[in-house]
């Protein structure tokens, strides 16, 4: 009995959780006069999307977001791989101190330092640039720790065997460690991409031109330009447009996404 109630409750929760998305999608396809009414009719239209696409430079925003997310990801993969190898496999002077310094970044992430980091970027004359949005995130302590855990589980014998065969140190990293840590790279990549695709506050502060603004900031500006509820249908359409690529990717790779998390040592 109790088990049945829980089951029903948990399915109910799933429906409740899905409601906001379904409602937004529904509204985005409704004619604007009907957007605020709670009626079920067969009226659907693509007008809202057409209007939104014309009203704001969303194509440019997509490109910007794509460039920013890719740039951060590539830089993070490189810096994190190198640092993780050092922490996992080498004994060196100052290791413990450095480890603690990296730990601090986990607790005091760049998101909290919006004001001081703005000053740093101003001093570097990088305000309102894409590279400026990316720079604070080029080193990821989270990525370093995640990869370090994985590298630690790779036996040293593999490295020695590769060395016997005359592999250079870089080749060992590239041919032994990176392939074996693939699930971790995927999990970290997913976290990083969704995080930076969604990041808002930092780019909002840094950018003030269309050429550099990511989707999130563009969406906020678009939504804020409406004062009344009359344009709900359009704001919903814009919202759905911004959510769509990431959501689609997630739905397509749902299983791999969740499994790579579970098996990557994110615990």
């Amino acid at each position: 009995m109790l088990r049945k109630i829980t089951t029903v409750g948990m399915y109910g929760l799933a429906v409740l959780w899905l409601f906001p998305l379904l409602w937004a999608v529904w509204t985005s396809f409704r004619p604007r006069e009907l957007a605020t009414s709670w009626s079920f009719s067969a009226d659907f239209t693509l007008d809202n999307f057409a209007k939104v696409w014309d009203a704001a430079p969303f194509d440019q925003y997509y490109i910007n977001t794509f460039l920013i997310v890719t740039g951060i990801l590539v830089a993070q993969m490189i810096t994190a791989t190198l640092a993780a190898y050092a922490f996992a496999k080498l004994q060196f002077w100052g290791k413990d101190v450095l480890f603690v310094l990296f730990l601090v970044q986990l607790m005091v992430p760049a998101d909290i330092l919006i004001f001081p980091n703005y000053n740093v970027l101003r001093d570097l004359s990088l305000l309102d640039t894409k590279i400026g949005i990316m720079l604070p995130y080029f080193a990821s302590a989270f990525g370093v720790f995640l990869l370090r855990q994985t590298f630690k589980t790779i036996p040293n014998e593999l490295e020695e065997a590769a060395r016997m065969e005359g592999c250079s140190w870089f080749q060992i990293l590239w041919r032994v460690y990176v392939p074996l840590a693939k699930p971790t790279y995927i999990a970290f990549g997913l976290v990083s991409v969704s995080y930076h695709w969604n990041n808002f506050m930092w780019p909002l502060i840094i950018t003030n031109s269309v050429e550099n603004r990511p989707l999130t900031v563009g969406l906020a500006i678009f939504a804020q330009s409406f004062e009344t509820g009359a344009q709900w249908a359009e704001v919903s359409a814009a919202t759905v447009m911004v959510i769509f690529p990431l959501l689609l990717a997630f739905l397509l790779f749902q299983r791999q996404f969740i499994n790579s998390f579970i098996h990557s040592g994110v615990k």
Binding site: W93, V108, F115, N198
Partner: protein, 295 residues
């Protein structure tokens, strides 16, 4: 002699490998914190073109500032409201999603998807849900014959509305960590428990919950840090209002720095934030960690 040289070589290697990360860490974590610490002892606002040293005036002013106390109290309530609930819900979700016989991937997707949606988009959707008269919530209240409520415009309701939305956004993310944790518990433990005829509640209380303790700790820390980090929705939904009822520390820093241009005060507030987060980290690191059973 050769050994010393080998050692020196490894040291050099290691430091070179760490250098790229270290540069960005120093430039965007440590240097800004130190600069901010210094600036927090200066008057630096629109009225003072050249910042000048004013000792602990900013901190004094902060302690007398009603808004600061309100924002700090709000943030603590926000943490109390979101952290335990979303963590508990995440655990329930994981236990269910791990076992659910039908629609396993549907259940996981439904719980998890809010995580991949940008907060700014979430804010747009929930703004509509919470709007009086037209919003989804108002329609639902109507069905139950209840009067309309102004969720975001009323000081009494706005924090609840925000807390509920953030739980919706975050619980599914924490569920993933619990799913990972559940995979690590050996099946043998469950088998021997069922041999002894233990009830499912006993199994949860004696096996599952204690063995998931490290996950709970980890997730709680992320949830707590997030309760100080999540402010995007305020830009769209309330701007911290009405009368600062939904304002949070980081949004207040943002306003102080970029709307009022009071850089000295923004620095002092940032320092308070950093100290707060480091204290929690230290508490976790030295206090709680020892009591947890790792397997």
């Amino acid at each position: 002699m050769g050994e010393l040289r080998a050692k020196w070589k490894v040291n050099m290697y290691a430091w070179l490998l760490l250098l790229p990360s270290l540069i960005f860490l120093l430039l965007f974590t440590f240097y800004p914190v130190i600069q901010t610490f210094i600036l927090s002892f200066h008057q630096a606002d629109l009225g003072s073109p050249e910042p000048f040293f004013n000792g602990i005036d900013n901190y004094k002013q902060m302690l007398e500032d009603e808004v600061f106390w309100k924002v700090l109290t709000n943030n603590i309530w926000f943490a109390i409201g979101t952290v335990p609930t979303s963590v508990a819900l995440a655990l329930a979700m994981a236990l269910f999603a791990n076992k659910a016989l039908r629609g396993k991937s549907f259940i996981r997707t439904a719980y998890f998807y809010p995580t991949v949606v940008p907060m700014i988009a979430v804010a747009n959707i929930w703004l509509f849900i919470y709007t009086p008269e037209y919003g989804a919530l108002s329609h639902v209240m109507e069905w139950f014959g209840k009067g309309d409520m102004n969720w975001l415009g009323d000081q009494k309701n706005v924090m609840w509305a925000m807390i509920f939305m953030v739980i919706w956004k975050e619980a599914g993310y924490f569920m993933i960590f619990y799913l990972a944790g559940l995979q690590n518990i050996s099946q043998e433990l469950y088998e021997s428990a069922s041999m002894e005829g233990a009830s499912s509640w006993t199994v949860f209380r004696r096996i599952t919950f204690p063995l998931l303790m490290p996950t709970t700790m980890f997730v709680s820390i992320i949830a707590f840090t997030n309760s100080f980090k999540l402010v995007d929705h305020l830009v769209i939904m309330t701007k911290g209002g009405p009368d600062n009822a939904s304002n949070l520390l980081l949004y207040y820093i943002y306003e102080t720095a970029f709307s009022f241009w009071d850089q000295g005060m923004a620095s002092a507030l940032t320092i308070v934030m950093v100290v707060l987060l480091l204290l929690v980290a230290a508490f976790q690191f030295f206090g709680m960690d020892k009591k947890i059973h790792y397997n």
